[in-house]
Structures are given as C-alpha cells and as structure tokens.
C-alpha cells in the first residue's frame, strides 16, 4: 500500500522527468528581447489557426496585420512565439512595402496545448500583438520518446 510519506517522496522525481520546455516566462523574455521592451498594443493583427489541433507536427497558421503597405506606412516585422515548445521562438519575418499585403502563412510544430503570440511592428515603430490558445491532441516531438 502506498503511504502518504511515499507519495510525498515521489514528488521530486516527477519534477525531474519533466521534459525540456520553454516556460511562459521564457516566452515573455524572448518577446521583450525581440521588441526591446516596447509596449504592445492589441488589435490590428489576427492569427488564423485551428483551435483544436489533431497533429502538432504541421499546424497551418496565418498571421494577418491590418496595414495599407505603402512606402510610408507598412509592416516591417512579424514574429510568432510559443509558450511550451523547447524554444520560445518559431519564426521571424521581415517585410517590406513590396509585399503589398501584410499576411504570411506557414506550418509550425507544437509540443503541447499552449498559448501562441504573434507580434508585428509597423514602420512607425509601433508594436502590435495577439495571443491565442490552442489545444493539441497529438504533440510534435514525441517520436522515439517514452511516454
């Protein structure tokens, strides 16, 4: 029979087997390093991603930023950050006025259910952000690992 004492003794073991993962704090510091601690305004940016993801190995994601994309007023940077993959970075784009439309789409890996944040910088030096929650049923990076 398992005693309470044995259960308590097992807690440090659980902490040891936790896989490598970035933490929300690491994501926050990665975003702060990327933006140079600039204030992030909500709005004017959207993330298109399925809320319930069957397969975390290739998750389609689209980032759309509202901008006229003229030489005077365009989006210069778009980046995606995540909370619980081994590293907080996903991808960083640099756009120019030649893009015509501030929209990028790609496929990413997600290790588990978590928050995703998209950050965009406009040519006037202002930053925008948008965060979404996603649920992942089959995680990326599980091949070969004992579950």
């Amino acid at each position: 029979m398992t005693t309470r004492r044995q259960l308590i003794a097992a807690i440090p073991l659980l902490a040891l087997v936790r896989p490598a993962a970035a933490t929300p704090a690491e994501m926050a510091s990665a975003i702060a390093a990327y933006t140079g601690n600039a204030p992030l305004a909500p709005g004017g940016i959207s993330i298109d991603i399925a809320q319930l993801i069957d397969n975390g190995n290739a998750v389609p994601i689209t980032i759309r930023v509202e901008s006229p994309m003229t030489e005077q007023d365009h989006v210069t940077d778009i980046a995606i950050f995540n909370e619980k993959n081994p590293l907080p970075d996903v991808v960083r784009f640099k756009l120019t006025a030649h893009s015509g439309k501030a929209e990028v789409a790609t496929r990413i890996r997600l290790a588990t259910s978590q928050k995703l944040t998209a950050i965009a910088r406009t040519s006037d030096g202002k930053w925008r952000q948008r965060t979404v929650d996603v649920i992942v049923t089959l995680a990326a990076c599980v091949e070969g690992e004992e579950m």
């Binding site: 490598a20 190995n57 290739a58 998750v59 689209t62 994309m69 995540n82 993959n85 081994p86 590293l87 970075d89 996903v90 991808v91 960083r92 784009f93 640099k94 756009l95 120019t96 006025a97 030649h98 893009s99 015509g100 439309k101 929209e103 990028v104 789409a105 790609t106 496929r107 990413i108 890996r109 997600l110 990076c141 091949e143 070969g144 690992e145």
Partner: protein, 107 residues
C-alpha cells in the same frame, strides 16, 4: 539539391498583389529528438529564407526548430514590372539553395 516547390502565377497585371507559396524538402531536425542511439540527433534546420523581386528584397524569414519539416511559407508580392523572383534558403551544415521564377507583368 533539395526539391523546392514554388506556386505563383506566371503573369499578373501591374499593381496586382500576388500570392507566392514556397515549400522545400528538408527534415528540419530540431536537435531535441532522440536518434536511434537514444542521444538527441544533432540540429539540422533551414535558418533563413529570402525572396527578392528584381533585385529588391521583398521578405525574409528567420526559421527556428519549431518550423515543420519541409518548411512552407506563403506571402504576397506587389507586381510592378516584368522581372525575376529569386528565392534562397540557407541552413545548418552548409545548406544553401536558390530558385528563380519569371513574373510577366502586363499593364
């Protein structure tokens, strides 16, 4: 040479905004996944993608291990004049590839 697929219209009207979808065959080994010997397989990913239109940079991307295998990137370009679009990928272990596509622009 890795297989690269680039989807874009062959011609466009001046001022039109066209969508370009680029995909390249690459395992994007993260460096966190255990290999057959149980040790993490060394990282082997594409780090950088650029697209130039008539010599001018349109978009660049810095890729991290959280990008899927066979990285797919879709973006937009404003058609201005007939010219060449150059796509380049660079990565770990000296990976480098360039592709060119012609875009015909009608007025």
């Amino acid at each position: 040479m890795a297989r690269a697929l680039i989807h874009m219209p062959a011609s466009a009207k001046a001022g039109d905004i066209i969508e370009i979808r680029a995909l390249i065959a690459h395992p994007m080994e993260t460096g966190f996944r255990p290999g057959s010997d149980g040790k993490p397989a060394p990282r082997d990913i594409i780090r950088r993608f650029t697209c130039e239109y008539a010599g001018k940079q349109v978009i660049t991307a810095e890729l991290h291990p959280a990008m899927s295998a066979n990285p797919y990137l879709a973006f937009f370009v404003r058609a201005t004049a007939t010219g060449k679009l150059t796509f380049t990928w660079q990565g770990d272990n000296g990976f480098a590839q360039a592709e060119e596509r012609e875009l015909k622009v009608t007025s």
